[in-house]
């Protein structure tokens, strides 16, 4: 496992290195933040309330929790992908309708565009904040 330590205390570094883990700032599997006797595990961009391990940590449990966090991140990415694809068609067709529609139809098409853009913004915030 490759992890970033925050803060990188000598004690924490010694423990991880005794397991043969790499402490790095570059492309880590997870960021471990030490707060009040526990590590919070962050796998960007998603975070999860269960991503916590109390210290002293056991290697197998920490590795399992990091893998679980990565799985959650990948599932989130797949779900966002599955939502964006149909939304692309909704928004694209609605924008085309705005170009050709008149009177009430134009208003309805504009409303679809507005609602769709709103949904896109929420999706974007969701993907940046994680679950």
């Amino acid at each position: 496992m490759k992890v970033t330590l925050s803060p990188a205390s000598d004690q924490a570094r010694a423990l991880l290195e005794s397991w043969g883990w790499e402490i790095t700032e570059t492309a880590p599997d997870a960021v471990l933040t030490e707060i009040d006797g526990r590590w919070e595990i962050r796998v960007r961009p998603a975070t999860h309330p269960d991503d916590v391990i109390f210290l002293p940590a056991a290697e197998t449990e920490l590795a399992w929790r990091i893998d679980a966090a990565k799985d959650r991140r990948n599932r989130l990415a797949r779900r966002l992908h599955d939502l964006r694809s149909p939304l692309n068609a909704v928004q694209g067709y609605a924008e085309m309708l705005v170009e050709v529609a008149e009177a009430d139809c134009l208003r309805f098409a504009s409303n679809i565009c507005t609602a769709s853009e709103n949904l896109v913004q929420r999706l974007q915030a969701f993907s940046e904040e994680g679950v």
């Binding site: 961009p45 990415a77 966002l80 992908h81 599955d82 939502l83 964006r84 694809s85 149909p86 939304l87 692309n88 068609a89 909704v90 928004q91 694209g92 067709y93 924008e95 085309m96 170009e99 769709s116 896109v120 999706l123 974007q124 993907s127």
Partner: protein
């Protein structure tokens, strides 16, 4: 107007973008998967390829790598169009050889600007 190859496996997304590009005056060719994209690009040498990345048969990353490895097609700009919005996906597309990365839902005016810039 230049010829554009639109590579998209989702029928509705392909139809929607095809119509929008045609309304702007582009000649648009379409492909449903990465293998077809390679064949169409080599045959027609379009000015730009709009490449969905999650494709059947051969995915968009590998199709782009092969286009960039082929001397007859490496000069053609490939723009990634993808529903994968995470920053790592952008890096992955650029590493494969894409010159730009646009996420779905597509911002159409922005896509037109990116297409114009890619051809310069």
């Amino acid at each position: 107007m230049p010829t554009v190859l639109l590579v998209e496996d989702n029928e509705m997304n392909r139809d929607m973008l095809l119509r929008r590009l045609q309304r702007k005056g582009f000649d648009v060719l379409t492909a449903n998967d990465g293998e077809e994209a390679l064949r169409m690009t080599r045959q027609h040498l379009p000015a730009v390829v709009l490449m969905d990345m999650s494709l059947p048969v051969l995915d968009g990353w590998e199709a782009t790598r092969r286009l960039k490895a082929d001397p007859s097609t490496r000069h053609i700009p490939v723009i990634a169009l993808t529903a994968h919005a995470l920053p790592a996906e952008r890096d992955r597309a650029i590493e494969a050889g894409c010159c730009a990365f646009e996420t779905k839902p597509i911002d159409f005016p922005k896509l037109l600007a990116v297409m114009e810039a890619a051809q310069k």
